[in-house]
Assembly symmetry: C2
Homo-oligomer: 307 residues x 2
């Protein structure tokens, strides 16, 4: 039976490309692996797959009866539906350790680095399998996407070294240029509904028993979002009511100015105060220097909710 | 602040020796790491530490305010008290993925191999750090202990290869002889109370919301336990009442005959039937070929409790 390699819901470039690259590695070592995705691709990921010549992976949303390798997540809330009705055979990730458990011992590698692609590159090396030019391209793109072109607080020396080596293999002369091309795609808002944008990169968390959703939209200038904010806030309120969230936060991240405006819809504004030592002004707080959900937002809220 | 490297409660040889060896590796790469243990050592572990010249690690049972690296477990029920009041900085293990979660991304490597020592050996190689003769000795002993001298169903080719290489470094000519020496110590029952024996290697699990304890006593012949069974069963009943267990199971494992008599104290004998397709006769079931709690007992009960 084939093994599906799949990233998180609301897939981003790292989630999709790490699944493709890791499935390729598994195939090289004799495992019948198929890359998959849990939802529609964002414009950045579409651009990356086209640029390096890959098809869009199969859509898989339910684990029932399937064997799966989870990449880029270890939270049940971000994973396939009916995860307990499938078999998890491996996990490869770079986030906090989530609440996925297994009945059997499996391979699980989580590294505190900027992208899952960085971990996948290491696993190619461990297995002694050569990385093709095309795979190097999508792994590089994943690192650039997840680390905001190596600028995010999550970026480690391991990511920088991996990006350099992958750029060489992929024949990419200018990492910065590729990164800006990608972020231009990511910033494209034309023709998008507020709902599309809210779910473009949206993750669910269980924080001390509370359902919390945290989305992120990265743009080259916050002013691009001026015309969307009202509609985004309305979508957040609707979603909160419809699905019983305690809080929904949306990070509007300016990758040039290097900071985040956090839109907040919450039952308890105190958690924002506890998390960032700042009061909500109107409907948001400005967080200078904050660009990483994983490293600069999720841990703060985890702490705020548990105290 | 020092980082404590610590294995599970009711420490066995792998839990103690992997902690010592991994702390040593962390020190070699510049981390102020201290090996620790959560409880008294069993006679086998005492023998191994004496043989290869190591002190008994510091006793640590509470995580409050501490930075910790967990080895050989990832279940909250098997870990330090107040785990949420400390900081978990790494996990190195070879069991099923447990319910430990973290607020931040950390290094977590779990491999489906016979012992945590096998994983620690790999991490020495990844770091390019030479394994000393003494460390090789305790890593080898850990593999032999956890894999019942490379005979348990959990034994992989990676463990066999690691054991061979470690034996060379440690100057151990006869792996089998070392293993039997160890198991003779493990089989020593003289002067032990039933309570000592029950807790010698006892692990707690949360199975679909039920508190389940599974212990194991490995002996070279089951007949050695004839005089202990009544008292062991009584201790199991007492413990069940006192601490609100749903079930307590005790594996009496004959490493020569290669099978396990499973003593059962449970609210629901059906789970044993579901797990092994066998009825309890009197107070136990005989499970031929079963020697591994991790691979042949825990997954069966997990399934039985969840169905």
């Amino acid at each position: 039976m084939a093994v599906y390699v799949v990233g998180h819901k609301s897939p981003d470039t790292d989630s999709v490309c790490s699944a493709i690259a890791y499935a390729e590695l598994k195939k090289k070592v004799g495992v019948d692996a198929v890359p998959a995705r849990q939802g529609d691709l964002n414009p950045e990921t579409t651009f990356v797959l086209e640029k390096f010549g890959f098809d869009v992976p199969e859509l898989v949303t339910d684990a029932t009866g399937k064997r799966v390798i989870l990449v880029d997540h270890s939270e049940v809330a971000q994973s396939l539906d009916n995860l307990d009705k499938g078999e998890i055979v491996e996990i490869v990730d770079h986030h906090k350790i989530g609440d996925v458990t297994t009945p059997n011992p499996i391979f699980y590698l989580n590294m505190p680095v900027g992208s899952t692609a960085t971990v996948v590159k290491k696993l190619y090396e461990d297995a002694g399998v050569e990385i093709s030019k095309e795979i190097a391209g999508i792994l590089l793109a994943s690192i650039l996407s997840d680390t905001v072109i190596l600028k995010s607080a999550t970026t480690t020396d391991i990511d920088r070294k991996a990006a350099e080596e992958l750029a060489k293999i992929a024949g990419v002369d200018d990492i910065q240029e590729l990164g800006m091309e990608m972020f231009k795609r990511k910033s494209e808002l034309e023709g998008k509904s507020a709902k599309d944008l809210l779910f473009r990169d949206f993750k669910n968390f269980d924080m001390s028993g509370n359902k919390v959703g945290i989305g992120q939209i990265e743009v080259v200038s916050l002013s691009l979002l001026d015309n969307f904010k009202d509609a985004l806030y309305e979508e957040m309120q609707k979603l909160k009511e419809a699905e019983g969230y305690h809080s929904i936060f949306l990070m509007l991240t300016d990758i040039i100015q290097e900071g985040t405006e956090l839109l907040c819809v919450t039952d308890d504004p105190e958690v924002v105060k506890k998390a960032f030592d700042k009061e909500i002004e109107g409907r948001s707080v400005w967080l200078p220097g904050v660009m990483s959900r994983k490293k600069q937002v999720v841990p703060n809220f985890e702490k705020a909710f548990s105290s």
